[in-house]
Symmetry: C2
Subunit: 443 residues, 2 copies
């Protein structure tokens, strides 16, 4: 439309062409942005392409079994469905696929033999019955939450393989060959996918979870560090507050539960890599995540007062301003330091001074509220209530920050993070504070 506005002489076809070109350019830019936002997406696409080309060429040049057919097909199919973005997801799918194929193939062969024993008349009836019973049970098992979390794909493949093998209608020897072919090609396919996934620029989902938890803390910290200035000073201009991106970042934390649970489940499939050991305390990450989310809920409530239309007069606000700004920014700093020490995988107690500062400020704020807030004219009562609500939320946020700090310290000792200053003798007071967590961790 825009293109034909200026030039009315243009033939319609050219306008259509330009519009199409515009769309293609827009699509191209979108693809470019996708790649720039996370270059690992491009790497992943190339990795999948490589794995598929490898497995295709393997079967093209060197048919493992007599003639091309079912065998190569299953291997290619396996690579396509098993290869996921992260190592954990790929290994999880691969193992699920292999294990359930082995078990189901064995059971399928057994069912087939049992059915053939009953003679020509009984065979189809028995096979139909076996398939019905097996499919019903396995499908129902997929509803068990613990199964669904880690073995859902395995149960699906179990269903599949059992039906394929038992229904095949071959003679016994052929059924065994079919089962063997299926198992071996699926192993070849899974190994190809896992090998390419692990050895070329791997994306470890455990590291992703680790980083996401740290990032989420930083998002909360960004909000808290800016909140004080934003709430107490800019309001006079009458402009809409709280719209800057660093203030809105915390919103994504509110809905992070699902992705964190999935990541922790998949991380358990990953072998040890770098600083992450095989039995890394993934559950403790989920605890830190839950506490971070609870803190985000409080921040969501705080954000309300930031964006609310009813503005408190500056003279009421200024009463609580001093200590409130300190609480908010000190909690922000504490969270930021926790996030940093998590990223560096170091044990740290350096956040304690910030929390202590914020607690001091909280006492000050309480004193201010006791002494002066209710001395304001009664007309200001509602504003007093709003400022009181802000203060009350800030107290909650201190409590949350403390809980997060405790959980991160516990994580640091469970996951054997480095001591930050190994040459200096540990500060006795700090180590006493951390005491109980260390004890729990050693168990």
């Amino acid at each position: 439309m825009a293109s034909s506005n200026n030039d009315h002489d243009q033939v319609k076809g050219a306008g259509l062409f330009q519009r199409l070109r515009g769309k293609i350019v827009k699509f191209g830019l979108m693809l470019k942005k996708l790649g720039q936002d996370d270059p690992r997406r491009i790497v992943h696409s190339l990795k999948v392409a490589l794995a598929l080309t490898l497995i295709s060429m393997l079967f093209y040049f060197e048919p493992l079994y007599d003639g091309f057919g079912i065998a190569a097909m299953w291997a290619i199919l396996t690579v396509v469905v098993v290869f996921e973005f992260t190592v954990g997801a790929t290994i999880g799918r691969g193992l699920n696929r292999i294990m359930s194929t082995v078990v189901a193939a064995a059971l399928g062969i057994g069912a087939h033999r049992l059915a053939t024993l009953s003679g020509n008349q009984g065979e189809p009836i028995l096979i139909g019955l076996f398939v019905f019973v097996e499919a019903g049970i396995v499908t129902f098992f997929r509803f068990i939450p613990q199964m669904k979390a880690r073995y859902d794909y395995g149960l699906l493949i179990f269903n599949l393989t059992f039906c394929l093998i038992s229904v095949s209608g071959y003679r016994d020897e052929e059924v065994i060959r079919l089962g063997f072919e299926r198992v071996s090609t699926i192993i070849i396919g899974s190994c190809t996918a896992v090998t390419v996934c692990v050895f070329i620029r791997p994306v470890w989902i455990g590291a992703e979870l680790h980083n996401q938890i740290a990032t989420n803390m930083e998002k909360l910290a960004n909000f808290l560090e800016e909140f004080g200035d934003e709430y107490f000073t800019v309001s006079e201009n009458g402009q809409i507050r709280g719209k800057s991106s660093s203030l809105q970042g915390y919103k994504s934390v509110l809905a992070s539960k699902g992705s964190e649970d999935t990541m922790a489940n998949l991380a358990r499939w990953e072998p040890g890599h770098g600083r992450f050991k095989f039995h890394h305390p993934w559950k403790q990450y989920l605890k830190v995540g839950t506490l971070t989310r609870q803190c985000a809920f409080k921040i969501e409530a705080l954000n309300n007062y930031l964006t609310s239309e009813t503005q408190t007069p500056q003279e009421v606000k200024s009463i609580i301003q001093g200590p409130s700004v300190v609480i908010s920014s000190e909690c922000g700093k504490a969270l930021k330091q926790l996030a940093t020490s998590m990223r560096k995988m170091t044990k740290s107690s350096s956040n304690d001074p910030h929390i202590a500062n914020s607690k001091d400020a909280a006492e000050e704020l309480k004193a201010v509220i006791r002494s002066s807030l209710c001395k304001l004219p009664a007309a200001d009562s509602l504003h007093i209530i709003q400022e009181g609500a802000v203060a009350s939320l800030l107290f909650e946020i201190i409590r949350c920050t403390e809980k997060i700090a405790d959980a991160v310290h516990k994580l640091a000792s469970q996951a054997h993070f480095n001591d930050v200053k190994p040459t200096v003798t540990p500060n006795q007071e700090n180590s006493v504070n951390d005491g109980p967590h260390h004890v729990i961790a050693i168990e």
Copy 2:
């Protein structure tokens, strides 16, 4: 362990046996509970079993192509992977699978022909190149958010089919036959799955979304209806408050975003059924869901004060008690009526009196705060602040409830819900209130 405590004479084997039996019984009880919680799970398992038995027997008795083999395998495979719990998910997977197989098979045959034209030397190189380029591009497309939401499975199958067909290494006629077989068996499998899914006790994901949105509103309503009594009266006993299940129900609403988005995406695949037309306004459901979730965040903040350890003395609480209880319970009633009218799919303005009542109570509460809260002794200031925060949250909840009501009214007119009293002339005042939404809806 418990079983061997009483009877020391027992042989170890019997103890082990009893322990095993205990575990089996426990597992059985868990399965029973799964089925009782949602009997549709049992129905679904039987449906999958039926569909698989049907397709297995079809190919067992009547091999569609010369000899059993690839053909039947693909059909069985299709039933297993396409059959999902809900109609929307099953149709979505089925259509994705069919469409992408058709397009990829055509492209694969083309690529194969192009490669064979280049002679024996060039063929494998060209095929490898085609597979690499196709797999790279399609895998990258899976990162496009709009694609991922609805066509992720289709892109996976596209990858798969293209490789299978182009790599197969057959002569041209055979490749075409392979493509045709794959397409036709996948259509047979998908149709079997969809037919059984739709015609035997179908679970419509659109209806699930509809009910979940209503249920979530009811959960908030339950909290609000009980909150007043719980917060203001029971506290004296010193027992822990806010632990009853109806008060904790809202927690699941906090993390409902992901599942609602998925449901709305899948609901679009479903044909019209009952009161749900093909172009049912699923997006508006998501808006209602978002507002409900925002209200749940406020309730989470309110719940904090319910469970907090610092107890406000009753004389401070009693100042705000009257209007607070009214606001909370009236908002609860308003939400409950909205949920009920959604369930019945009727247009309703009957919630307005409740919102009006809560607004009156809010004015009263503001007056109470203005006149008396700050007259308390200064020692109570901090408690005053806490009660002020509760009052402030209640004001927010009124605002949220109003927004939810507006969104539900808009949904009711977009989705053509029934008028609740078609014989009575519409109340002019109410319809004026609803005016702008009706106008938007008619567009």
